[in-house]
């Protein structure tokens, strides 16, 4: 029973860390000044939170019921692939529709690069 307790501790630990990170991500969405920094908080840490929770669930079912859930593996790969792309697209749309950067911004390199072309 001792090994089972250790494995349960690992899954609980992963899920706890995942939920703490998702709370941190939510706080970041509220407290950051503009769209770009908010999406930085939203995409990176929420992805990590979801991944940790899914890995915890996968390990739990693997250890307690010795069930390899292919759907959870696919979900991990899928979230890992798609959520940065989604964040990239949202922020790109925001930049193209001229959403202002925060006042504390020092440099806007993309603006120079876009205007150099024409």
């Amino acid at each position: 029973m001792n090994g089972n307790e250790i494995s349960e501790f690992i899954t609980v630990f992963l899920m706890l860390i995942g939920s703490i990170i998702s709370v941190i991500s939510a706080v970041g969405i509220i407290r950051f000044p503009d769209v770009y920094t908010r999406s930085h908080a939203a995409t990176k840490s929420s992805t990590l939170a979801v991944l940790l929770t899914l890995v915890g669930a996968f390990l739990y079912f693997f250890i307690t019921e010795s069930l390899v859930s292919v759907r959870l593996i696919l979900g991990i790969v899928f979230v890992f692939l798609t959520s940065p792309v989604a964040g990239h697209l949202i922020i790109r749309a925001a930049y193209r529709s001229n959403v202002k950067l925060a006042d504390s911004t020092v440099e806007d390199e993309l603006k120079d690069a876009l205007h150099q072309k024409d």
């Binding site: 292919v70 696919l74 790969v77 899928f78 692939l81 798609t82 792309v85 990239h88 697209l89 193209r96």
Partner: protein, 143 residues
């Protein structure tokens, strides 16, 4: 504002990879429908969502050259399959839509249980894909 030149390489590369995962998952759901959550309806919706993702990343013409199918015919073929599996029970003197199953020995899979309800599900799947894609392509076409 002047039209900026679009460069969707990140979206297109991600779409090329992800649409295969979505298609695989829809196929899995279609086959799993007998003993687990899933079936023809959800499988068809997920397949059409993979095609919609392709439509978002590329344009209508490219997707039409990838999938040279008229989706109205897909829906019609699906209905035909569903009716045929229902009417097929007449050949054995059973009431309409009677389904049976049997155990077969397949070369790779071994002993598998094959049910005629899967064929009916295939009809549902094709109807859902056909109707969804027809609606979206009709709305998406300009003018």
């Amino acid at each position: 504002m002047r039209q900026q030149k679009t460069n969707d390489i990140i979206l297109q590369t991600a779409t090329k990879l992800v649409s295969f995962i979505i298609l695989l998952f829809s196929f899995y759901l279609f086959l799993a429908g007998h003993n687990a959550p899933g079936g023809g309806f959800v499988g068809g919706l997920i397949t059409s969502s993979a095609i919609v993702l392709l439509l978002l990343a590329f344009d209508l013409k490219t997707v039409k050259s990838i999938l040279p199918v008229n989706f109205i015919y897909v829906a019609a073929v699906g209905l035909l399959i569903a009716i045929a599996t229902g009417a097929g029970s007449f050949l054995f003197g059973a009431p309409f839509l009677t389904h049976t199953f049997g155990h077969f020995h397949l070369p790779v899979l071994g002993n598998t249980e094959l049910a005629t309800a899967t064929l009916f599900d295939l009809g549902v799947y094709l109807v859902v894909v056909g109707v969804t894609m027809t609606i979206i392509q009709t709305i998406g076409e300009e003018e």
